[in-house]
């Protein structure tokens, strides 16, 4: 990703909008008793579009803002979303995305990873209460929501950040092909 001042402003605006939408809308909407979490999907999309550094930095920033607004111990959200962004970026750098199913699938898997990460962090910081088995249901439903929300989020962000994206040649010599996932 080519980072100009305009693109950085867009990235900041995307981050702010995502956090505010999450806290004021998605967290307060219940479908099948579970609220969607779009932040991991946003970070995954940024990682897929910009690579490891963009993913990691945007994950850290979104997590930091989230922790600030929720008055939670700072650093927890940053650590989890940083890992999510970095993993998405690493995927982009290692594999080619041939199938349109890859971004939503990755959003689904990494949202599950993020929720497990938040859970692990909460347990490490000392949850002194019983944990309901309904947590598993909520985790799975959140991941499914991420699958369906991941695709429009990815497309929207790709459109917004198009001027900064490094276009890769469509046809490559056979010998130079990189491994791909879910595609020929």
């Amino acid at each position: 990703m080519i980072l100009t001042r305009k693109i950085v402003v867009r990235l900041v605006a995307i981050g702010l909008l995502a956090v505010i939408l999450q806290l004021s809308f998605f967290s307060q909407v219940a479908v099948f008793h579970t609220s969607p979490d779009i932040l991991p999907a946003v970070v995954v999309s940024l990682g897929l579009l910009g690579g490891t550094m963009t993913g990691a930095v945007s994950g850290f920033a979104l997590g930091f803002l989230l922790d600030c607004l929720l008055v939670q111990p700072l650093g927890g959200g940053s650590l989890v979303l940083l890992a999510v962004g970095y993993l998405a970026g690493m995927f982009r750098e290692r594999f080619e995305i041939h199938s349109p199913l890859v971004p939503p699938l990755l959003c689904m898997v990494l949202t599950l990873f993020a929720e497990l990460g938040f859970g692990a962090l909460a347990l490490m910081l000392g949850v002194d209460s019983a944990v309901s088995t309904l947590v598993i249901r909520d985790l799975l439903i959140k991941s499914i929501f991420a699958f369906f929300l991941g695709w429009p989020i990815y497309l929207g962000l790709r459109r917004l950040l198009r001027p900064a994206l490094v276009e890769e040649p469509i046809v490559r010599p056979r010998s130079g092909r990189r491994p791909s996932v879910l595609g020929a």
């Binding site: 806290l23 004021s24 479908v31 609220s35 932040l39 008055v71 650093g75 650590l79 002194d128």
Partner: protein
């Protein structure tokens, strides 16, 4: 050149990871700090506007969820209504007796909110996205008289306590949050215990540490105990409804000294709340 780039990337990544751990270590257990107060102060008006603007869309989606839910609840509610009708007769008699007793001991405070407390009405403007923390942000803060640890209620009963305050907003740790513990009693039997969350299921709380010799039953009401001792008091005023016993097996009561409580307040869908400011506190 490539190696330099890789080295720089690794350095940034290491810096971010170390930064996260450092922030976590420094700020853990401190409540709110200056950075969080500043960010909350800047963002709470924006969140408030976004909350109001997005309310119609949110209500629409929640309406679909409630419609699906209502179909399953209809039959259960009908059977509960029959039980409630029978109980209402007994409650009326108890209320009359209670009014007389209150007059006798001059405890009549004339409402559900205990005397000395000033309710400040607010609206939920944000909510934690993860299932591990049950926190909400409300649009009233220290500027409205809200203080740390103030109890928070809604029309149905207790919902939590204020866990952090900024001038324009407050953070409320719900009774379903993993940090919550509320001293409570079962009425009319008077069994006391601590209401703790069952993380991940805000519709199921646990009344823990109860006296296993006294048995409680399904349907009995759980209210705040609101005890006062010498130099140490409960954070909650007495007799605020929390919920009712939903499961109370003898095995669980005797072996684990706990029963399950269904909160009156729907902790998944909160809108208007009241912070009880003033009053006595520990």
């Amino acid at each position: 050149m490539y190696r330099k780039q890789v080295r720089r990337r690794r350095a940034v990544l290491a810096l971010l990871v170390v930064g996260s751990f450092a922030l976590l270590t420094i700020t853990y257990g401190q409540g709110s700090n200056g950075v969080q107060r500043g960010v909350s102060t800047i963002f709470s008006p924006v969140q408030s506007v976004a909350d109001r603007a997005l309310k119609p869309a949110r209500d629409l989606i929640n309406w679909f969820d409630k419609t699906f839910d209502a179909r399953g609840k209809e039959s259960r509610l009908q059977s509960e209504l029959e039980v409630a009708r029978k109980q209402a007769v007994g409650v009326k008699a108890a209320l009359a007796e209670n009014a007389q007793l209150r007059k006798l001991v001059q405890l009549d405070r004339g409402g559900a909110i205990p005397g000395g407390y000033q309710p400040v009405t607010g609206r939920v403007i944000a909510r934690s996205p993860t299932i591990w923390f049950a926190d909400v942000t409300v649009d009233v803060g220290s500027g409205d008289g809200v203080k740390l640890n103030d109890p928070v209620i809604n029309g149905d009963g207790l919902i939590g306590t204020v866990s952090a305050v900024t001038p324009g907003s407050s953070q409320v740790a719900l009774i379903a949050d993993n940090s919550s513990a509320v001293s409570a009693k079962v009425v009319p039997v008077g069994v006391q215990g601590v209401v703790k969350p069952n993380v991940g299921d805000p519709g199921d709380l646990i009344l823990d540490f109860i006296d296993s010799a006294k048995h409680v039953h399904r349907g009995q009401v759980v209210v705040t105990a609101g005890w006062r001792g010498q130099g140490i008091d409960s954070r909650f005023p007495p007799n605020i409804p929390i919920g009712e016993i939903s499961r109370a097996s003898l095995e669980e009561q005797e072996a684990q000294q706990q029963v399950h409580v269904r909160p009156y307040a729907d902790l998944r869908e909160l809108d208007l709340i009241q912070v009880l400011t003033g009053g006595w506190r520990g």
